[in-house]
C-alpha cells in the first residue's frame, strides 16, 4: 500500500543527503571529538562545521549554538537556566497554546511557588499584545513564546514581543521547533536570548536538538560533568546526529523559498479543494499568518480518531486534535484555548506537508478524503 505522509509537524523524513552525511560517523569516523589525536580531532572539526551550518541558518554565531538531544531538552533547559540566573524574579509569561515541553515545566514551577501568566488566544488562535504588555512586570524572569504553533500553524508576532520584553530587560525564549526550516528566521535582527529547535522536524533524525543562547546571556548548564559544548552541556557529543543536523540546516537554507512557494501552494490547493468538496468544514487558526505547510481542518459532527483510522486504511498519515487519539477525554488544549466549538473541535484534522510532498499525492488525498467524511456523517446521529 502507498503511504502519503501529511504529518510532518509530528516528524519528518530524513533527507537522503542527511543520511549520507551521517553514515561515515556511524562507521569509520568513530573518534571522540575531544581526543588529542588526529583521528578524533577530525571528528571534532566536523562537529564544529555542523555547528557553523546551524548558526548560519539562524543568522547566529557558531559559539551561540548548543547541541542537545531534542527540542524538549532545549525547552526544559532554558526555563531552568533563566530562572536560576535570576533568582529574585518569580514570574514567567507564556501562552496557553505552547507545546507540553513548555507547559509542563511551567506547571512544575508554579508548584514551586512561581507565578505563571498563560496568555489567552482568540478564536483564530491569535495573541493579544495588550494583554502581553500588561503582564510584563519587574518580577518577570523570562518570557517563553512559541514561534509558530504546532497544531494550527499560527505564527506569533515574536519580533514585537521580544522588543517589548527587552525594554524591561526581561529574558526572552522562543520555542521555534515548528518554525525553523519552514520560515526564515534571522537572529541578527531578532534579539531573542534563547531559541529551541528540533532536528527531526526539518529532515534530520530524531534525537538531536539545538539550543541557541545569545552571546553574553547568562546560562546555567543542566548536565554537568564534562567540558563538551564549552562546558554548557556535559556528555560526549552525539556526533553522527550533529553532522546530520548540520546537513539538514544547509538543506533547509537552500529550500526555504520553496516552502513559501511550492509547499504553500500545495497546502492551499488541498485546503481549498477539501473545503469545496465537503460541506460544514472550517479551517482552524490564523489563515493570514501561519506556517506554509500546515492546515488544521475541522469537519462538523464527525470524530477525529475515526477519520484518522479511515485515512490510515488509505495510506494517508495525518493527526488529530480530537480527544480520542490521545487517551485524554477532551479535545487538544490548543483548540480548547481557541474556543473551537465542540462539534468542530472533535473533528479537527491536522495535515502538515513538507518539501517532499508531491502534487500527485495531494490529488490522491483530495480524491479519497471526502468519502471518508461522508461515511462517518452517515453514521452520526447529528445531522
Amino acid at each position: 500500500m502507498r503511504t502519503v505522509y501529511l504529518d510532518n509537524n509530528a516528524t519528518s523524513a530524513i533527507a537522503p543527503e542527511v543520511l549520507e552525511a551521517m553514515l561515515p560517523y556511524l562507521s569509520d569516523l568513530y573518534g571522540n571529538p575531544s581526543s588529542m589525536h588526529t583521528f578524533g580531532g577530525q571528528v571534532g572539526h566536523a562537529v564544529e562545521k555542523a555547528r557553523g551550518e546551524v548558526a548560519s541558518l539562524l543568522g547566529a554565531d557558531a559559539s551561540e549554538i548548543l547541541f542537545t538531544s531534542c527540542g524538549s531538552e532545549s525547552n526544559n533547559t532554558v526555563l531552568a537556566s533563566a530562572l536560576s540566573s535570576r533568582p529574585e524574579k518569580k514570574h514567567i509569561i507564556t501562552t496557553r497554546v505552547e507545546h507540553p515541553a513548555i507547559l509542563a515545566p511551567c506547571q512544575y514551577y508554579e508548584r514551586q511557588g512561581y507565578r505563571v501568566t498563560y496568555l489567552a488566544v482568540d478564536a483564530r488562535g491569535r495573541l493579544n499584545l495588550d494583554e502581553y504588555a500588561a503582564a510584563l512586570s519587574e518580577d518577570t524572569a523570562v518570557v517563553s513564546i512559541m514561534f509558530a504553533n504546532n497544531e494550527v500553524g499560527n505564527i506569533f508576532p515574536i519580533a514585537d514581543m521580544v522588543s517589548m520584553a527587552k525594554e524591561k530587560g526581561i529574558l526572552f525564549h522562543t520555542d521555534a521547533v515548528q518554525a525553523v526550516g519552514k520560515i526564515p528566521i534571522d537572529l541578527k535582527t531578532l534579539p531573542v536570548d534563547f531559541l529551541s529547535l528540533s532536528g527531526h522536524k526539518l529532515h534530520a533524525p530524531k534525537g538531536i536538538g539545538v539550543l541557541y543562547i545569545r552571546k553574553g546571556t547568562r546560562f546555567r548548564p543542566h548536565l554537568r560533568g564534562g567540558h563538551q559544548e564549552r562546558g554548557r552541556r556535559a556528555g560526549t557529543e552525539n556526533v553522527p546526529y550533529i553532522i546530520g543536523m548540520g546537513k539538514a540546516a544547509v538543506l533547509a537554507g537552500q529550500n526555504i523559498q520553496q516552502e513559501r512557494t511550492v509547499v504553500a501552494a500545495l497546502r492551499d490547493r488541498l485546503e481549498t479543494e477539501l473545503l469545496q468538496r465537503i460541506p460544514d468544514t472550517i479551517v482552524n487558526g490564523d489563515t493570514e499568518n501561519r506556517l506554509p505547510n500546515t492546515s488544521s481542518i475541522a469537519f462538523k459532527n464527525v470524530e477525529g480518531e475515526a477519520i484518522l483510522l479511515m485515512l490510515d486504511r488509505l495510506g494517508i498519515c495525518a493527526s488529530s486534535g480530537s480527544a480520542c487519539t490521545s487517551g485524554s477525554l477532551e479535545p487538544s488544549h490548543v483548540l480548547r484555548a481557541m474556543g473551537v466549538p465542540f462539534n468542530y473541535a472533535h473533528g479537527s484534522i491536522r495535515l502538515s506537508l513538507s518539501r517532499y510532498t508531491t502534487a500527485e499525492e495531494i490529488d490522491y488525498v483530495i480524491q479519497e478524503f471526502p468519502p471518508v467524511i461522508e461515511r462517518l456523517r452517515a453514521l452520526s446521529p447529528f445531522k
Partner: protein, 280 residues
C-alpha cells in the same frame, strides 16, 4: 496508535445494522457532541418483548462505532429481560477486548440499551442513571450512581480506571476527590463483605513472603517515593515484617505514623490481618 483488536477494526470499517430504523418503537440516546461521543440506539421490539431488529447512529471514535455495531448484533432476537443482562464487559468481550482508555465506549452501549428499553416500557426517557444519584463530574455529566455501578461491574480500583470506564474526572479534574471518596466507600464495603464471607486465607511462608514483597513494590513504595521517601524490606518472619524507611521518610518525625497507618495497613489489606510491621 491504539491497539485495537481485529474485531474492533471489522466492526468499525463495516458496521452491522448501521443507520436509523424507520419502524423502531424504542430509542435510547446517550452522550453528546460536547462529550465527544454519542450513540442513538433504535430497537424494534415485539409485543411480547422480543427485540426483532436493531439499528444505531454513532458519533465517536472507532471503538464507539464498533461497540454500537456489536451491541446491535448481540441484542437481536433476545427478549428485553435477557438483553438487560448484557453488561459493558460483555460488549467489550464480544469485541475481543478494548483498550482500557476506551472502556467508556462499552459503557455507553450498555447505557443506550437500557435507555431504549426504558423508552419502550414507557418509563421516562431520561438517559440511564441520570435520574438517580448526585452529579459528580460536571464536565461529562456523570452521577455517583453511574460511577458506583461501573466500580461494581468491572471491579475498578483506581480513579484513573473510573475515568477510563465512565469518563468521570476526565475534564477539569475537580471531582477527583469526590470520585476517590466513592471508591473508598465501595472498596471498604467490598472488603467487609469478603471478611464476612470467606475465612482468612492461609498462606505458606513462601507465598506470604512473595505477597509482602509484591505489596511493598506495587502499593507502598510508589506512595513513599512520591513524597521523597523509600522503603526496604529487611525480613519476613511469620507475621512480623521488618522494614527500613529510607530517604525523606528516615528523617521524618511522623515515620512511626507512616509505618503503622500506611505500611502496616496496606500489608494487612493485601497479605493478611495479622501482619505486624517493625522497623529495623
Amino acid at each position: 496508535m491504539w491497539n485495537y483488536s481485529e474485531k474492533v477494526h471489522e466492526h468499525f470499517l463495516a458496521p452491522h445494522n448501521a443507520g436509523s430504523l424507520a419502524d423502531a418503537n424504542a430509542i435510547g440516546e446517550v452522550g453528546s457532541l460536547a462529550c465527544g461521543d454519542a450513540l442513538k440506539l433504535y430497537l424494534k421490539i415485539s409485543a411480547n418483548g422480543i427485540i426483532e431488529n436493531a439499528g444505531f447512529e454513532t458519533f465517536g471514535c472507532a471503538s464507539a462505532i464498533a461497540s454500537s455495531s456489536v451491541l446491535t448484533d448481540m441484542v437481536k432476537g433476545k427478549h428485553v429481560d435477557e438483553a438487560l443482562k448484557i453488561s459493558n464487559k460483555d460488549i467489550a468481550t464480544a469485541l475481543g477486548g478494548l483498550p482500557k482508555e476506551k472502556m467508556h465506549c462499552s459503557v455507553m452501549g450498555q447505557e443506550a440499551l437500557e435507555a431504549a428499553i426504558r423508552n419502550w416500557r414507557g418509563e421516562p426517557a431520561v438517559p440511564h442513571a441520570h435520574e438517580e444519584g448526585a452529579l459528580v463530574c460536571k464536565c461529562f455529566g456523570i452521577t455517583d450512581a453511574q460511577i458506583i455501578r461501573a466500580i461494581r461491574e468491572n471491579g475498578l480500583k483506581t480513579v484513573e480506571e473510573i475515568t477510563q470506564y465512565t469518563k468521570a474526572g476526565g475534564g477539569c479534574g475537580d471531582c477527583h476527590d469526590a470520585i476517590a471518596e466513592l471508591l473508598a466507600q465501595e472498596l471498604g464495603k467490598k472488603n467487609l463483605a469478603e471478611i464476612k464471607l470467606a475465612p482468612p486465607k492461609r498462606l505458606t511462608n513462601v507465598q506470604r513472603m512473595q505477597l509482602v514483597m509484591k505489596t511493598i513494590e506495587d502499593e507502598i513504595r510508589p506512595r513513599l517515593i512520591q513524597d521523597g521517601g523509600d522503603i526496604e524490606l529487611i525480613d519476613v518472619d511469620g507475621p512480623r515484617v521488618v522494614v527500613a524507611l529510607r530517604g525523606r521518610c528516615a528523617q521524618c518525625r511522623s515515620s512511626q505514623v507512616t509505618l503503622k497507618e500506611l505500611v502496616e495497613k496496606l500489608l494487612r489489606d493485601h497479605v493478611s490481618d495479622d501482619v505486624i510491621v517493625e522497623e529495623a
